[in-house]
């Protein structure tokens, strides 16, 4: 992408672009100054920010986008701080288990950094949290979260499955900006990879509750495989088998069970629903 080309293109459709951007020279200068401070990867965001300032109008969706990104950042802080403590807890078996949770911790930290950079580049102020901001016992619901491996993985699974639903629910808020939307989708599918792996880890370690329940990398109906109703809000609604008015069970005369139909589509949750789920984890 070449900034000169973009400015030339805009000049064709909007002769007043340099009034809006000050002057071409200053626009380039200010862009160069900004871009020197931020990671290369965030350049599209910085560019978006430059035009958002130039074309800002009362109906510009910038506030909605910044709110959405800060909401995502809040959830990423929650997850990152959880895995930092989890990996340091000493109760995760060394080998594949510890390696996997370390990989996930690193991804969540990367998401925090990415979103902070993106929000700053867009002219917003990133929310900020520290280790003391969180209570991973969820006000006593999971008192052994960092001393009992089964509880630790159950909370991890819930965070990931919830994170997937959160990003899915927020994606439409970003539809007006290709760069933010794409980045959010790229985080969304990473959370789904984490969720799938954690679900399989719990199954292989025989940690599913109640006994006899099966948990797979994908979500069957609204089953969590976790022995407390405290996590149920993260799974309710996943049993949905109707998509855009189309019944998926046995669709097209194919033998598709309700269980498979529910697994085939993950379901979004609203910001309010997600907030209600994660609030107990904030100190």
């Amino acid at each position: 992408m070449n900034l000169q080309n973009i400015l030339t293109e805009i000049e064709k459709t909007d002769p007043e672009v340099y009034d809006r951007l000050d002057t071409r020279r200053n626009a380039m200068k200010s862009f160069a100054k900004t871009s020197g401070k931020i990671a290369l990867a965030a350049l599209p965001f910085a560019l978006g920010s430059m035009f958002q300032k130039a074309y800002a109008s009362p109906t510009a969706p910038t506030d909605l986008i910044l709110d959405t990104l800060n909401f995502a950042l809040t959830l990423e802080y929650l997850e990152a701080n959880f895995y930092i403590k989890a990996v340091a807890s000493g109760i995760i078996p060394t080998g594949d288990a510890l390696t996997s949770l370390t990989v996930i911790r690193d991804h969540e930290n990367e998401h925090v950094n990415f979103l902070k950079t993106a929000i700053t580049a867009a002219g917003g102020t990133p929310v900020s949290f520290t280790a003391n901001s969180f209570d991973f016992t969820a006000k006593g619901t999971f008192p052994n979260v960092f001393s009992d491996y089964g509880t630790l993985l159950a909370v991890a699974q819930t965070f990931e499955d919830t994170g997937v639903r959160a990003y899915k629910g927020q994606a439409p808020n970003l539809i007006s900006n290709n760069d933010y939307l794409t980045a959010a989708l790229q985080i969304h599918s990473v959370e789904a990879r984490h969720a799938a792996h954690l679900r399989e880890m719990r199954k292989m370690a025989n940690l599913l509750v109640p006994s006899g329940v099966d948990v797979k990398p994908w979500i069957t109906l609204n089953q969590s495989g976790i022995g407390t109703s405290a996590v149920q809000a993260s799974y309710n609604g996943e049993e949905n088998v109707t998509q855009a008015g189309v019944m998926i069970t046995n669709i097209g005369g194919k033998n598709i069970s309700a269980a498979a139909a529910s697994e085939a589509f993950d379901e979004p949750l609203s910001k309010d629903q997600i907030t209600a789920i994660v609030t107990p984890f904030f100190a």
Partner: protein, 233 residues
């Protein structure tokens, strides 16, 4: 039973949803709409040659949904064959999961067919001659390639959609594809569910343009796909 071929029983969802939220209306709500379009145009790469005949996916949201429908057809056909003729010494769990994934992909395929109604592309002919269905490593290697490809395709296609309802539907599917990808990867190499070949140093999964996706998928398709009318931003 729902008869998806009959328009009387299955109203054309695309027509209905498109009417309620046109592209013009959508662009109208963005303050900097024109600037965004120009930025995208400046980034446009040349078409990699999907415009020489073949099945036309169409334009706009319909084109993007047909693009997803094409990929789901490919995946569903692959897993149908995997389950019909499992590789030697497949474990019970692997067979159960392959059957689950087959059903998910069939559900996705049939969903798009029903949702697109009269605008759906034809059934595609696949070419699986490069896959050894008797070999675990060949089947899992192909499954991994298809799932990672599917994830990157949906991630790259989200921005091409105008109707937020379609974006949500695509989101509902892509995370399931990512779950598949994670499991298949772990079945090949434990712990590789989100390794550096899938997730970059910023913690982001891959995203691909339709041209790049179809360049890879076309090796497994006899039917030629024409993506030249798809939106590019």
């Amino acid at each position: 039973m729902l008869n998806i071929e009959s328009k009387e029983n299955q109203p054309d969802l695309i027509e209905g949803m498109t009417k309620s939220f046109s592209r013009r209306k959508f662009l109208g709500v963005i303050g900097a709409g024109s600037a965004l379009v120009v930025v995208a145009a400046s980034c446009k790469k040349t078409n990699l040659g999907n415009n020489n005949g073949g099945v036309d996916l169409g334009s706009g949201d319909v084109g993007v949904l047909n693009y997803a429908y094409a990929l789901e057809q490919l995946e569903a056909a692959f897993y149908t064959q995997v389950v019909a003729s499992p590789y030697s010494q497949i474990s019970d769990m692997e067979k159960a999961y392959m059957t689950d994934i087959r059903d998910h992909e069939i559900a996705h395929r049939e969903f798009f067919k029903a949702a697109l109604g009269s605008k759906a592309i034809q059934a595609l002919e696949v070419n699986f001659s490069a896959i050894d269905f008797t070999s675990r490593s060949s089947v899992l290697g192909t499954a991994k390639a298809f799932e990672d490809l599917g994830v990157s395709a949906y991630n790259g296609a989200g921005k091409l959609l105008v109707n937020p309802d379609y974006l949500t539907i695509a989101g509902k599917i892509v995370s399931v594809e990512a779950r598949h990808a994670a499991w298949v990867r772990d079945a090949i190499t434990p712990g590789s569910f989100a390794d550096m070949s899938a997730v970059n140093a910023m913690g982001l999964d891959m995203e691909r343009k339709p041209d790049d996706v179809l360049a890879i998928a076309s090796a497994f398709l006899k039917t030629k796909i024409n993506a030249s009318n798809l939106p590019t931003s």
